[in-house]
């Protein structure tokens, strides 16, 4: 049931345990305990809401920063990654293969604010040797969700 449960929750985390149980052909107790277990095992890392901030009054900018670092003698990349991901402004940090080491995704209220963060917080860290900041101009699809779905149901109302 694990894989199927995750597949459903990944798309809609608000669905009730009762409904999940019916959909998966399980008891509500079994679903509840499986979800509990997966939270404890940190397979389910959190439940959050996808928000298209562009549609709100709030100004938001997202930047994707390529960071090159010198790995530490003890702790490798993990230690420097921690020093970066602990910043409130940082929403994601990934260790990468290829031409640079870390992808750091930063959200801020303005380009100026993000630039300030890079200059004053990120670039000054000792192990960081270089940064390249790319601002996101438009989000088309995020975490599997289309930001502006244009779909209508074009099927006939009734068909054989």
């Amino acid at each position: 049931m694990r894989k199927e449960l995750l597949e459903v929750l990944e798309k809609d985390s608000r669905i009730s345990v009762q409904d999940l149980a019916i959909m998966l052909g399980e008891t509500p107790e079994a679903v509840q305990s499986e979800m509990q277990k997966m939270q404890e095992e940190q397979i389910i890392a959190g439940y959050h809401t996808m928000i298209n901030w562009d549609k709100t009054e709030d100004e938001r900018v997202t930047a994707l920063i390529e960071v090159k670092v010198v790995p530490q003698r003890d702790g490798g990349f993990d230690k420097i990654a921690k020093r970066i991901y602990e910043f409130e402004e940082v929403s994601s940090v990934y260790l990468m293969s290829g031409a640079f080491d870390l992808t750091v995704i930063v959200e801020g209220r303005s380009m100026k604010e993000v630039a300030l963060f890079v200059r004053q917080r990120l670039a000054v860290l000792d192990p960081v040797t270089s940064t390249a900041t790319h601002f996101v101009l438009k989000k088309y699809k995020d975490n599997g969700i289309l930001m502006e779905p244009e779909k209508r149901d074009e099927r006939m109302i009734v068909s054989p």
């Binding site: 809609d12 019916i22 959909m23 052909g25 099927r155 006939m156 109302i157 009734v158 068909s159 054989p160």
Partner: protein, 390 residues
């Protein structure tokens, strides 16, 4: 001026669905659970393959029987999935949807006076196709008490010395009923004993939710030579608009069908055929994912109807449930019209699929959970009103 129209064609009843569609299409804010096609988009890799084929200028006719490459892929797929071996050159024909395959299969076999056994309720086109082929359609009513499976007892009521062909529509539209291997065995014995030929319409084969995967009637001992297997890309791969199906059967039959197909159609759409090659090669996981999602909805819809107090057997195939509305003392059509006018929900009366669908409605779950919930909520309100009227 004379009347140029063939009276035999005039005499064909228009589909019961059509009538219902005309009413529903006129109304605003209708939520429909009435469609017979998937709600998923065709997987992107299939669409992308079609676009690429167009870019490559692959815009000419294919061989009459279809692209050889596609037939070879189909032979491999059919073997992998249903343990059936067909020669891609002589035993597989690519058609314009499963519907064309049904039509030309019948036309290649039916002679005047031949009787064709058609289990009912079932898909709307079997009877007219038999009639147009010059044969006599013989409906075989299926029993709700058997979960609408076909039994030898049902067949024995209708078999005559003129019976030639059995149409075998499982997993079934509209009931969602399936036939397991144990259910198939006596049917195979009956077919052999009465020297019948079977057109086995397995268009919903991939949408089967039982523990055991779908079993083709043709895969039973000595049955392949007596079966024309019909399938297509519409349901499994969510490709209804691409109009692509196929027929697999004995070379002697496929050869004659290919002749009709050649003169009537020439070949199935080229773009769709290239797309289909990609579907067979790359989309197994997507199909499995869609099947899992249908299965979630299926369980939810069955439970909802049972909670409303409507008897509903558990359908293990296709994307329909077929609850009984007999307790309300209305015909299926009256019930569906009232539901449409009162609550703006469109479902299809069971009688659109044959007289033995009386007392039932076909509810499609080719809709998102959200749409299903809204529609089922409205149906529940409707039923509460009926119950309170007593």
């Amino acid at each position: 001026m004379r009347d140029f129209i063939n009276p035999a064609v005039k005499a064909i009843k228009p589909s019961g669905i059509r009538r219902f569609f005309d009413i529903a299409a006129e109304m605003d804010h209708v939520i429909s659970l009435g469609v017979g096609e998937p709600d998923f988009d065709t997987p992107w890799s299939i669409r992308e393959a079609a676009i690429y084929s167009l870019e490559q200028g692959q815009t000419v006719y294919t061989a009459n029987a279809g692209l050889k490459e596609l037939r070879q892929e189909l032979a491999a797929y059919t073997h992998r999935k249903y343990s059936l071996s067909y020669d891609p050159i002589h035993e597989i024909l690519i058609t314009v949807g499963g519907s064309e395959a049904i039509d030309i299969g019948l036309r290649a076999m039916v002679e005047a006076g031949d009787e064709v056994l058609i289990p009912e309720p079932s898909y709307v086109s079997y009877i007219p196709c038999v009639t147009l082929a010059g044969g006599t359609p013989v409906p075989v009513p299926l029993q709700a008490s058997n979960d609408f499976k076909l039994t030898v007892e049902d067949l024995e009521q209708k078999i005559t010395p003129k019976s030639k062909i059995l149409i075998f529509p499982f997993p079934n539209n509209p009931t969602g009923s399936i036939m397991t291997r144990e259910d198939l065995e006596p049917i195979a014995a009956f077919v052999k004993a009465h020297d019948l030929f079977v057109i086995t319409d397995e268009i919903y084969a991939e949408l089967s939710y039982a523990k055991e995967p779908h079993v083709s009637l043709a895969s039973l001992p000595d049955m392949q030579q007596r079966c024309l297997v019909i399938n297509g890309f519409s349901k499994a791969f969510s490709m209804t608009g691409w109009r692509l199906g196929y027929a697999m059967g004995p070379a002697a039959l496929v050869e004659q069908m290919t002749k009709i197909h050649q003169f009537a159609i020439m070949c199935a759409p080229t773009t769709s055929q290239y797309a289909a090659i990609n579907a067979l090669r790359n989309c197994e996981e997507e199909v499995a994912k869609m099947r899992r999602e249908y299965n979630h909805r299926r369980r939810y819809v069955v439970k909802s109807f049972r909670d409303m107090g409507l008897p509903c057997f558990e359908p293990f195939g296709a994307f329909y449930v077929f609850p009984s509305i007999a307790q309300f003392g209305m015909s299926s059509e009256e019930f569906c019209s009232a539901l449409l006018y009162d609550q703006r929900v469109a479902v299809v009366p069971g009688t659109a699929f044959g007289d033995s669908g009386e007392g039932f409605i076909r509810v499609s779950y080719a809709y998102s959970m959200e749409e299903l919930k809204t529609a089922l909520g409205r149906i529940q309100t409707f039923i509460q009103t009926l119950n309170s009227r007593g």
